[in-house]
């Protein structure tokens, strides 16, 4: 599927700010399931744009605006070719939870089994996870149950949480947006020893009535490691196994690693922040 994404972020400051340093993670990855044909990231006021790959393998755009400015506009336009990444008739069942011991020390998995900034492994979370797991012995089955549990029992509501809401809080309040759902699901997976990472990206809502959640904004979900098969994406916000409708921007331990826009500056808080995401399907 060929998808085009236009992602605009517009900050307006009440009075001029200066010395703004920013990092953007807005360029989709190219991997086995998706190929980023082109991506243009532009900012205003104009700045020199530099790129580097971070420790998680995500592409980062870096820029600084030393002069005074009272607005900052960040736009990213990308064209991505996505592949079918799961066979819905043939999910990777049959890998036992016990066998995960073999991968827990591997550098590819280890960071995704630990506590991280927004995700804790603690007794409360562990108890919840054990309840959700019930008598399942299978990695994919268990991860799927966790996704379903969150989808069915958590309330999707905007503006009750912030970008800095911790997974512990979400597990308690049982509500939030895609970021919170992903954090909560990751916490439960990690408690059971399933390597789980946070993914930021977009998705194309192919339903006729646009009934999916989170399509008009940047989206987030999780990926779990099924040893022998690789990483599988699960979207607890929509109770859906990640397929070619999804575009991955980057992945990391939690939101901190892949926040689309981060930075610092001198000056007052923004008086307004507008974000718009449009995902269009193109002719193949």
């Amino acid at each position: 599927m060929r998808l085009y994404v236009l992602h605009k972020t517009y900050y307006r400051y009440p009075s001029p700010v200066r010395e703004s340093f920013n990092e953007l993670r807005l360029q989709p990855l190219s991997n086995d399931w998706q190929h980023c044909e082109s991506c243009f990231v532009s900012v205003l006021p104009t700045a020199q744009m530099r790129q580097y790959l971070d420790l998680n393998g995500n592409l980062v755009h870096h820029f600084e605006i030393p002069y005074e400015h009272s607005k900052l506009i960040i736009e990213s336009r990308s064209t991505i070719l996505t592949q079918k990444r799961v066979d819905f008739d043939n999910f990777p069942y049959g890998v036992s939870l016990q066998s995960l011991r073999e991968v827990e020390g591997q550098p590819e998995c280890r960071p995704y089994l630990q506590t991280s900034q927004f995700i804790d492994i603690n007794p409360e979370a562990w108890r919840m996870a054990v309840d959700v797991r019930a008598d399942s012995q299978d990695v994919f089955q268990t991860a799927y149950q966790i996704m379903e549990f969150i989808y069915l029992n958590y309330e999707y509501c905007v503006s009750t949480t912030t970008v800095e809401t911790h997974a512990n809080e979400v597990l308690q309040s049982k509500r939030g947006v895609c970021q919170d759902f992903a954090h909560a699901a990751i916490a439960l997976c990690r408690c059971l020893g399933i390597p789980a990472r946070y993914v930021s990206g977009y998705f194309y809502d192919a339903t006729r009535d646009q009934s999916m959640r989170g399509a008009g904004a940047s989206h987030a979900w999780l990926e779990v490691m099924v040893n022998g098969y690789g990483w599988f994406g699960l979207d607890p916000t929509n109770n859906r196994v990640v397929d070619e409708n999804y575009v991955i921007l980057g992945s990391g331990r939690d939101y901190t690693d892949v926040a689309p826009v981060t930075g610092t500056y001198f000056g007052p808080s923004p008086e307004s922040l507008q974000v718009s995401v449009e995902v269009k399907r193109l002719d193949d």
Binding site: S38, F40, S42, M49
Partner: protein, 481 residues
């Protein structure tokens, strides 16, 4: 039954759009149209050509040639054989164009604000400030939606290997979109079956996309924006296009005298009284827009228009001062702009350019005039240019003098063997050089209708495709995959 149209067709040393670089077998994407052409009786071809020509006359698709004592209005010659571009090839071109228009807009924003790219020494400040179309008045002004170039016509050529190269950008008032639309209309009537069978991507959305890009600029977003097209008048070479686009968009076409600026707002005189105007699609160069700011004796503009523009009460498309990027000296720096603002390499390459302004380059140019094309930095339409290989000694000497007198005004480029395309000529089908002008619209997002206007140099061996220099055009078919 096959006619003999292509039996003596020669591709010579050029890249041929239909037969590629080896010139033996037709490229896959041309097979259907080639078969159709071969199946035609000679009388049918003649009939189709006549039918097409008369449609153009009936539709009034004409242009005016300047500097010609007869001052004639001519029909833009049209060739029946369409240029075909496969989807994959087009996708790359399209992405290259998006990248380019983003960089050009960032550059203009930068030039009229902080000037970072000059401070970093990537583009010399003197090049920018000495550009004939640099507008001091725009310094510090935030143009509506921060977009300077809303409509850009970027000319592409293909070299002997078939590689697409950017030849120039037209970021002021690019013409030709009406021919692109008319050509398509006529091809649909002339080859309805082939057109259908080849699943050609449609271009008909252009007027609607253009109108949307204009409306996006309106300072009064709460109501239906009033957009107008400002024309220099009936004597302008592109007047047909102005009327055509205004009609297609359903907006008023006005001349300067139809508008009046009062207290920093612009109004249109109508039979119902004055109507406030939000967006002006101006097909008039900066210098003529407002006699109070620019050319004092301009009768085409509107006094007070600049004041309203700088107060943000009316939007202009394109913005003022965009000519800096049309300057062929600035053009040489576009790849660096892309690297600077977007942090990536250009997708589309461009023609290597020698800047006579630079001592080393100038020496080279003066010593190799017969192998180069010399162009005036700020002329368009194929005026003020020397094709070294086809020039006389006297012409070269004249150019050498002009270059030495004002080096900033000239650039030189190697002569590129433009690709050729089979074209109906007096003696049957022959290869003629072509270029491609896609139209890029930049409103809420960047939109490019698939393909563009293919211009063809009808004179045998000529490399100049401009309509004012005896060029014609073809329809351009971008195929769905």
């Amino acid at each position: 039954m096959q006619n003999e149209l292509f039996t003596s067709y020669e591709t010579d040393v050029f890249f041929d759009e239909m037969f590629g670089s080896d010139g033996i077998a037709p490229l896959d994407h041309y097979r259907s149209i080639l078969n159709r052409l071969k199946s035609l009786e000679p009388t049918q071809i003649e009939e189709k050509q006549k039918q097409a020509d008369s449609s153009f006359l009936e539709h009034g698709v004409t242009f005016t040639v300047y500097g010609d004592d007869e001052g004639t209005e001519r029909i833009f010659p049209f060739d029946l054989i369409p240029r075909v571009i496969p989807d994959k090839e087009w996708q790359k071109v399209e992405q290259g164009l998006r990248q380019r228009i983003l960089a050009l807009n960032l550059f203009l924003n930068d030039v009229y604000h902080d000037g970072k790219i000059m401070a970093e020494g990537v583009v010399p400040e003197e090049v920018v400030k000495s550009s004939a179309h640099y507008r001091q008045e725009m310094v510090g002004f935030d143009v509506p939606r921060d977009i300077f170039v809303h409509i850009c016509g970027t000319d592409l050529i293909r070299d002997e290997t078939g590689r697409y190269l950017v030849l120039e950008d037209n970021a002021r008032c690019p013409s030709g979109a009406s021919y692109l639309l008319e050509n398509r209309e006529i091809m649909k009537k002339t080859f309805p079956g082939t057109y259908q069978a080849m699943s050609v991507r449609s271009v008909e959305a252009y007027p609607e996309l253009l109108l949307r890009s204009l409306e996006f600029l309106s300072p009064r977003q709460s109501q239906k924006p009033v957009c107008v097209l400002l024309t220099p008048g009936v004597y302008n070479s592109a007047y047909f296009e102005h009327t055509f686009l205004a009609r297609q968009m359903g907006i008023e076409i006005v001349e300067g005298k139809d508008l009046i600026a009062i207290d920093g707002h612009v109004y249109m005189r109508t039979t119902h009284g004055l109507v406030q105007v939000d967006v002006i699609y101006r097909r008039l160069d900066d210098a003529f827009l407002d006699p109070l700011f620019f050319e004092e004796d301009s009768l085409l503009g509107v006094s007070g228009l600049m004041d309203a523009y700088l107060k943000g009460n009316v939007a202009l498309a394109n913005g003022i001062g965009t000519g800096v990027v049309d300057d062929k000296v600035t053009y040489a720096y576009v790849p660096e702009m892309i690297r600077f603002y977007l942090g990536q390499d250009p997708i589309l390459e461009q023609v290597p350019t020698y800047l006579c302004w630079n001592d080393q380059d100038r020496d080279y140019v003066l010593n190799n005039l017969s192998e180069l094309v010399v162009k005036s930095a700020n002329e368009s339409g194929g005026y003020g240019m020397l094709v070294g290989s086809a020039s006389t000694k006297k012409e070269r000497e004249e150019f050498a003098q002009m270059i030495q007198a004002s080096p900033r005004d000239y650039i030189a480029q190697p002569i590129i063997s433009l690709s050729r395309h089979p074209t109906f000529c007096e003696n049957g089908i022959e290869g003629r050089h072509v270029d491609l002008r896609p139209f890029i619209l930049y409103g809420e997002d960047i939109e490019i209708v698939p393909g563009g206007l293919t211009r063809v140099a009808l004179k045998k061996g000529s490399l100049v495709v401009n309509s004012s220099q005896g060029g014609g055009s073809k329809d351009t078919w971008v195929l769905k995959d």
